[in-house]
C-alpha cells in the first residue's frame, strides 16, 4: 500500500510569484519524513503539490515532476481527483464537516468512491476510528456532530477520515499546531502506529516533534523575503539534528534550541 515519492525539479508558483524552486528529493515507502524550516519557506506549498491541492488556488501552478511509484502525478491525462483519492491529507486546523455526524465524516471519502453498503461502511468506520485512536472515545456517539468533539479529537477524526479511503500516502500540514500537548502526544503516537502502513510526510515547526516521529528530515529555507524557498538539506533525522552538513541547517536548529 505504501509508496515511494520522487520529486524532481519541482517549482511552484502563486500567479507570478515563485514560491519554491527546484526541489529534488526521494521519500521512501513506509517512512515518516518531516519538512522543517522557517515560516514562508514553502513547506506547505511543496506538501500540497504532492496531492495536487496546490493548483486548487486560482493562479497557482507547478513545474517539474512528482513520481508516485514511478508514475508522474503531473503527467498528461492524470486526473487530480484520482491522485487525491490515493494521497490523503490532514490540515493544520481540524476541519471535520460541521454538517455531518462523526460517522458521516469518516465515510465521506468512501461515499465519494461510491461505497454504499451499510455493513461495509460500519466496518470501515470502526476500523478507521480505531486506526486513529479515537474509537473508544466516540463509539457511543457516532451520530453526534463531528464539530462537537474537542480539537484533538477533531484532528484524529480528520485522520480517520483520511485513512478510511486507504490512501497510499498521508500528508500532514502542522497537524498538531492547534492542539494542546496531550492531544499532540496522542497524534504523535498515532503517527508511530500508522508508519507501518503508510508513507507519511509531516510539516512541523516543532523540532522535537520532528525528531520524535520522523526518520528523514527535509530542511527548507529561503535567502530573503521575495526569493523562492529551496530545499537546503535532506538527510536522516538523526544526521540533521546531530550533525548537519549545511551551516544554515545548523543555525536554524541551534537557534531554535537555544
Amino acid at each position: 500500500m505504501a509508496t515511494r515519492i520522487e520529486i524532481s525539479g519541482l517549482t511552484a508558483y502563486y500567479g507570478k510569484f515563485k514560491a519554491v524552486a527546484d526541489v529534488n528529493l526521494t521519500i521512501e515507502p513506509k517512512s515518516v519524513t518531516a519538512f522543517i524550516g522557517p515560516s514562508g519557506c514553502g513547506k506547505s506549498t511543496v506538501l500540497r503539490t504532492l496531492n495536487r491541492m496546490h493548483e486548487v488556488l486560482p493562479g497557482a501552478r507547478v513545474e517539474g515532476k512528482v513520481l508516485l511509484d514511478g508514475e508522474d502525478l503531473y503527467g498528461p491525462g492524470v486526473d487530480p481527483v484520482n491522485v487525491r483519492r490515493n494521497v490523503g491529507m490532514v490540515f493544520q486546523r481540524p476541519n471535520p464537516f460541521p454538517t455531518m455526524s462523526i460517522y458521516e465524516n469518516v465515510i465521506a471519502g468512501l461515499k465519494l468512491n461510491g461505497v454504499r453498503k451499510k455493513s461495509l461502511l460500519d466496518e470501515r468506520v470502526e476500523e478507521s476510528l480505531k486506526g486513529a485512536n479515537l474509537w473508544d472515545e466516540v463509539k457511543d456517539r457516532l451520530n453526534r456532530p463531528g464539530a462537537g468533539l474537542s480539537g484533538g479529537q477533531q484532528q484524529r477524526l480528520c485522520i480517520a477520515r483520511a485513512i478510511a479511503v486507504e490512501p497510499q500516502v498521508l500528508l500532514m500540514d502542522e497537524p498538531c499546531s492547534a492542539l494542546d500537548p496531550i492531544s499532540t502526544l496522542a497524534i504523535e503516537d498515532l503517527i508511530q502506529k500508522l508508519r507501518s502502513s503508510y508513507t507519511i510526510v509531516i510539516v512541523t515547526h516543532n523540532m522535537q516533534q520532528a525528531s520524535r516521529v520522523s526518520e528523514t528530515t527535509a530542511f527548507f529555507s529561503l535567502e530573503k523575503t521575495g526569493d523562492p524557498g529551496r530545499l537546503v538539506e535532506y538527510s536522516t533525522t538523526s544526521q540533521i539534528f546531530s550533525n548537519p552538513k549545511e551551516k544554515r541547517t545548523e543555525d536554524y536548529i541551534s537557534g531554535r534550541f537555544g
Partner: protein
C-alpha cells in the same frame, strides 16, 4: 509594563487558543527555552499579552470591563481577565491616577460615560416601548375594522370563494384568494430556488473571479428593481409571448392535472403570474445564497477536495449542507415577498374568484392583488373585509416563517455554527 514570565500551565492552556489575534508574528518576544513546544508558545503568548495589556490599560483595570468583552473568544477573554487580575495590583501602585476611584472626584471621562449611558438606555427603552405600543394600536384598529366586516358577513369567511363584500348583504370569503396566493407563491419558489441556487453556486465556485464580481453586482442590482416594473414587463412583454409555452406545456404535460387546460384556452394565468414572481424573487434568493456560500470556510472545501471530490461533489458534501439554513432563510424571504406581492400580480392576473388546480387557464387572484384592485371602490364593510383578508395573509406568512425556523433549528447542532 513588564511582562511576567508565564507559568508553564498557563502557557499550556493558552497555547491551545486560536491564532486569529493580530500581531501574531511580532519578532521581539524571545523563544522560551523551557517550554515544551517553543513555536506554539512564542506565537500564541504574544497576542494574548498584547490584548490583555490593551484591555487593562484602556479600561482602567476594571475586571468587569475585561470580563464583559464577550465578542472575544472564550480563552482570550479568560486570558484578559487573568491578566487584568494579575496586573491590577502593580498598576494601581505605580500609576495610581488610573484607578477608577481616584478619577471620579475630578470631572474626568468616567461620570460623563455614565450619563451618556443612562441617557442612551432611557432613549432606546422609550423608543422600543413606544414602537410596541404603536404596533399594538395599529393591530387593534385593523382587527376592529375587520371584526365589523366579519360580523356582517353572510357567507363563511374561510370557505366562501366569492368576494361580494360591497353587496347587501355582504357575502365574501378568502378561500379562493388564499388558494391563489399560496399556489402562485409556491410555484414561483419552485421555479426560483433551483435557478437562484444554481446562479449563486456558479458565481461563488465556477465563475472566474472578475466575472463573478460583475455577476454578483448585476444580481444585487436586479434585487433592487421595483416590482411594478416586473408587473408591467409581465403584462406587456411576457404575456403576449407566453401562450406558446403554455400550449406546449398543455400538449406535452397535460397528463399532469396542473397543466391540463381541457377544452378551455391558455392566457393570463396563475402560471404566468408565478413566472413573473419567480423572476422577481430570484435575485433576492440568489444574492443571499451567494453571501451564504461565500461564507463556507475554505478549509471545508479543501477537506472535500483532498478526499478526492470533484467540484460538484465538493459542492454537495461541503458547500450546500453548510449553506442550507441560509438558503432556507433566503427562500422564506422570497416566499414572503411572493405572497405579499401586490402590484405585479394585480397587473397580470384577471381577478377571478375560483379555486382551480389548473394553472394555465386565464384565472386566479391573490389576497394582496385583490386588496390593490378592490380598495378604491370598496365601501366600509368592503374595506373591513379587505383588511380581514390582509390579516389572514399576515398570519399565513408568520406560520410559514415559524415552520422554516423550526426546520432550521432542528438541525442546529449540525449547522456548523452552533459549536
Amino acid at each position: 509594563m513588564t511582562t511576567e514570565p508565564d507559568s508553564p500551565a498557563d502557557a499550556g492552556t493558552r497555547g491551545t487558543g486560536s491564532q486569529t489575534t493580530p500581531a501574531a508574528t511580532e519578532p521581539s518576544v524571545p523563544a522560551q527555552p523551557t517550554a515544551e513546544k517553543p513555536d506554539e508558545v512564542s506565537t500564541d503568548v504574544t497576542p494574548g499579552e498584547a490584548v490583555s495589556e490593551a484591555v487593562s490599560e484602556s479600561e482602567a483595570v476594571s475586571e468587569t470591563a475585561a470580563a464583559s468583552d464577550s465578542t472575544a473568544s472564550s480563552d482570550r477573554t479568560a486570558a484578559s481577565v487573568s491578566a487584568a487580575v494579575r496586573e491590577s495590583v502593580p498598576v494601581s501602585e505605580t500609576k495610581g491616577d488610573l484607578t477608577p476611584r481616584e478619577i471620579s472626584p475630578e470631572p474626568g471621562a468616567k461620570p460623563k460615560i455614565g450619563l451618556a449611558d443612562t441617557l442612551f438606555k432611557n432613549l432606546t427603552r422609550t423608543a422600543g416601548i413606544g414602537l410596541l405600543v404603536l404596533i399594538g394600536l395599529i393591530a387593534l384598529f385593523l382587527v376592529l375594522r375587520a371584526w365589523d366586516a366579519l360580523s356582517a358577513n353572510e357567507g363563511n369567511f374561510f370557505t366562501t370563494e366569492t368576494w361580494g363584500a360591497n353587496d347587501t348583504p355582504p357575502v365574501f370569503g378568502v378561500a379562493a384568494l388564499l388558494f391563489g396566493t399560496l399556489l402562485s407563491a409556491v410555484i414561483a419558489l419552485a421555479i426560483a430556488i433551483p435557478v437562484a441556487v444554481g446562479i449563486a453556486l456558479f458565481i461563488t465556485i465556477y465563475a472566474p473571479r472578475r466575472m463573478a464580481s460583475a455577476l454578483g453586482y448585476v444580481v444585487d442590482l436586479l434585487a433592487a428593481v421595483p416590482s411594478v416594473i416586473y408587473g408591467l414587463w409581465g403584462l406587456l412583454v411576457l404575456a403576449p409571448h407566453f401562450n406558446g409555452t403554455q400550449m406546449w406545456l398543455n400538449d406535452y404535460f397535460g397528463w399532469i392535472p396542473l397543466f391540463d387546460v381541457g377544452e378551455g384556452s391558455v392566457g393570463r394565468s396563475v402560471f404566468l403570474a408565478s413566472v413573473v414572481l419567480a423572476i422577481m424573487v430570484l435575485p433576492i434568493i440568489a444574492a443571499l445564497s451567494r453571501e451564504v456560500f461565500l461564507q463556507v470556510p475554505i478549509t471545508h472545501r479543501e477537506a472535500a477536495l483532498a478526499l478526492g471530490a470533484t467540484r460538484w461533489e465538493m459542492i454537495r458534501t461541503a458547500v450546500i449542507p453548510y449553506g442550507k439554513p441560509g438558503v432556507i432563510s433566503a427562500s422564506m424571504l422570497g416566499l414572503g415577498r411572493a405572497m405579499g406581492e401586490t402590484i405585479a400580480v394585480a397587473l397580470v392576473l384577471p381577478s377571478t374568484f375560483n379555486i382551480s388546480w389548473n394553472i394555465l387557464k386565464p384565472a386566479g387572484n391573490t389576497i394582496a392583488a385583490n386588496v390593490a384592485n378592490g380598495f378604491g371602490e370598496a365601501n366600509d364593510i368592503g374595506r373591513g373585509a379587505l383588511i380581514a383578508s390582509g390579516l389572514v395573509l399576515f398570519v399565513v406568512t408568520m406560520v410559514v416563517n415559524m415552520i422554516a425556523r423550526a426546520v432550521i433549528a432542528r438541525r442546529r447542532e449540525f449547522s456548523g455554527r452552533a459549536a
